[in-house]
């Protein structure tokens, strides 16, 4: 059971991530964000539920959507470093070299594969290292549904299961792969079924319910820390935004209908958890307002910091490629 403080922390992280998303959208519109922004709005409960209570020395891999917003922020990377990286400033998490590829090994976040699904095999290697080090570290690797089409998952899943590596595979199933519905490319209802061929637990969980996500991951994380090997958790959610912010919103060759999106907007994970906590008496309306205000202040300050930071010095190009 979660304590009151833990529930407050989960809720606060949901709100922080939502406010950061809003700042990123503004950054795209003002031309400060370099490249694109793939909003994870409506899917925050997955990453926040899975990573808020990880140890600092645990490792995380995150899906392309949100560029890690729902995992690296709960894990401890600062919104300043996140936004500054997207503005390609030298104060960014990767000194302005990575843009949407936010990383900081101090928080166990090594980066994001440019080719989707490239992270699975790296997670297997971090699992090998975590097992060798024997300090109880785990690897939480949350990837989008589309990436599970890559052979890399199957190769990594086999290795992890065979060697009982401390890894939790997460599917953030938002039902879309750019314009292609996942149901068009995956023949079964549940991607969690992929687990059984590798002899690991496969669980389906409501991805809009942050507590349900937390509990499913907690069970798998404890199992991994105990040396019993990997698990696969499929979180059912839905992409309410287009593939990238402002992009034409297609389904196959046509357009996606608002009627399809509407029911999922009502299942907003932040609102759902807020209602529940108000009902349980964990939060008062005054708490809700304060958490909102503090999150907005935090993100606006981070945005100002990023805007005012200098661009990277081109001399860095001579230093970054090799260690010496």
């Amino acid at each position: 059971m979660l304590t009151k403080e833990q529930k407050m922390k989960l809720y606060t992280n949901l709100v922080r991530v939502r406010k950061l998303d809003e700042i990123m959208v503004k950054g795209v519109l003002s031309g400060k964000v370099c490249g694109h922004w793939s909003s994870q709005k409506g899917q925050e409960a997955v990453g926040v539920g899975a990573t808020t209570f990880l140890r600092k020395d645990d490792y995380i891999f995150f899906c392309h959507r949100g560029h890690g917003i729902t995992t690296v922020i709960p894990k401890g990377i600062s919104p300043r470093a996140f936004i500054a990286e997207h503005f390609s400033k030298n104060s960014g998490a990767c000194q302005g070299m990575g843009c949407l590829h936010v990383a900081d090994m101090e928080y166990g976040a090594p980066g994001l594969s440019g080719s989707l699904g490239g992270d699975f095999v790296l997670a297997a290697g971090m699992g090998i290292a975590a097992k060798m080090r024997a300090k109880g570290q785990v690897v939480v690797c949350i990837q989008g549904d589309g990436t599970y089409g890559r052979g890399t998952f199957h190769e990594a899943a086999l290795m992890a299961a065979n060697w009982k590596l401390p890894i939790v595979w997460g599917v953030e199933n938002n039902q879309y792969m750019v314009f292609t519905p996942t149901s068009d490319i995956f023949p079964k209802e549940n991607m969690a079924d992929l687990a059984f061929g590798y002899g690991m637990p496969g669980v389906v969980v409501d991805g809009q319910d942050v507590v349900a996500v937390f509990e499913a991951f907690q069970t798998a994380i404890e199992r991994a820390r105990a040396g019993e090997g990997p698990s696969l958790i499929e979180c059912k959610t839905y992409r309410i935004e287009p593939h990238t912010y402002g992009m034409v919103d297609k389904r196959c060759a046509g357009l996606r209908s608002p009627e399809e999106i509407e029911p999922w907007v009502k299942k907003d994970p932040v609102n759902l958890f807020q209602e529940r906590l108000l009902k349980e008496g964990v939060l008062t309306q005054a708490d809700v307002d304060r958490i909102d205000r503090e999150a907005i202040e935090e993100m606006e300050e981070a945005e100002r910091f990023a805007t005012e930071s200098p661009a990277p010095d081109p001399q860095i190009l001579k230093q970054v490629l090799y260690w010496k």
Binding site: C34, C99, A253
Partner: protein
């Protein structure tokens, strides 16, 4: 003749060839919806059996193309970004490229591997690469890199009809480029370079998008009395060295421009072929312009320090001519902003940037 965009030219070639030959089909990630909309309209016209959306499975896309080709079809495998050829290296470079050779020349391999290529879009190191040197390096693969709508259509039709595996690369920044194409059917043979601009003082051999940058520089230098000939090889395998040698015999000076890295990039190969065939005609050492030996950084500020820029091309031309001239008016290619606008024109994005 009529004016079309580069992307329409690709689209027309796909439509015409799929109509002409029902063994031609296209598959890849989001080809129905078209992340680059050159596949628009194909699904409506040819249906789900010939226009197939795949999972994110580059190995399966590239490998299934080999299997379908072996079984008598003419697959077009769309890989979206040429960076992802590295994922499917075994299927493209070992299977598609080598199986005809390995299995006694009895197998046809009529595959087109299509993908966008190149940078200047301020994306990142895994979405901005130019891989032509890797492909040109691999015996068994053909490679076509069009730079005009006319070439895009004619080369793609040839690629689809070719019985060998062809890598066909379209540069992201060329997709909105306009140009004239004839109303009647045409194809462009492989291995035939095109002189995009005639000149007498120096030969610039430019690959892909570098043709456009080089033409821009050549036009500016023309005003200052320097006559630059710009040659677009159009295909790197087969490679038309003869057209280049003919030009070198006239100009005696060569600059080679490519967007791939300098080290082991195609500029080195092309330069050496010129040395072997036309050394006696050269009045100065060959100059090369290519990307720095460095991954392409993401973000607003650093890409221009890695990828070739118009001032670099101008400086190389002046150097090979032994001239000194003020070229401060030649600007770097800050095109990230324009790319967003271009994608807006193509209907890929609706975002307006201030």
């Amino acid at each position: 003749m009529r004016e079309v965009r580069f992307i329409q030219a690709i689209n027309e070639a796909l439509l015409e060839e799929m109509k002409r030959d029902e063994t031609v089909f296209i598959f890849g990630e989001c080809v129905r919806g078209g992340t680059f909309p050159h596949t628009n309209g194909l699904f409506e016209k040819f249906g789900k059996d010939r226009v197939l959306d795949t999972s994110i499975s580059e190995n399966a896309i590239a490998g299934a193309a080999v299997g379908a080709a072996l079984a008598g079809y003419r697959p077009i495998a769309e890989l979206m970004f040429s960076d992802f050829f590295l994922i499917a290296g075994d299927e493209i470079c070992n299977k598609a490229a080598k199986w005809r050779f390995t299995h006694g020349m009895k197998l046809k391999m009529p595959i087109v591997y299509m993908a966008s290529t190149g940078g200047y879009i301020r994306s990142d190191s895994e979405h901005s690469q130019s891989v032509e040197s890797l492909i040109m390096h691999t015996p068994g693969l053909r490679i076509a890199i069009p730079t005009t709508p006319y070439d895009a259509k004619g080369l793609l039709k040839t690629a689809i009809r070719d019985d060998d595996p062809v890598v066909y690369l379209y540069h992201k920044l060329l997709l909105t480029k306009k140009g004239e194409i004839p109303d009647e059917e045409y194809t462009i043979p492989f291995g035939l370079a095109d002189v995009k601009k005639e000149g007498k003082d120096v030969t610039v051999v430019a690959v892909g998008f570098m043709v456009d940058l080089s033409l821009g520089v050549a036009n500016k230098l023309q005003e200052r009395g320097i006559s630059v000939e710009v040659i677009d090889p159009r295909t790197l395998e087969p490679f038309d060295i003869d057209t280049i040698v003919t030009s070198v015999k006239k100009t005696k000076r060569v600059v080679i421009v490519d967007e791939d890295t300098l080290r082991c990039g195609v500029t080195g190969e092309i330069g050496m072929q010129i040395m072997e065939k036309a050394f006696d005609y050269l009045d100065a050492p060959i100059q090369r312009v290519a990307a720095a030996n460095c991954p392409i950084p993401a973000g607003w500020y650093l890409e221009e320090h890695v990828l070739p820029q118009p001032p670099d091309i101008a400086a190389a031309i002046l150097k090979v001519l032994g001239k000194d001239m003020d070229i401060s008016d030649m600007k770097k290619e800050k095109v990230g902003f324009d790319a967003v606008k271009a994608f807006g024109d193509l209907g890929i994005t609706k975002v307006k940037q201030n």
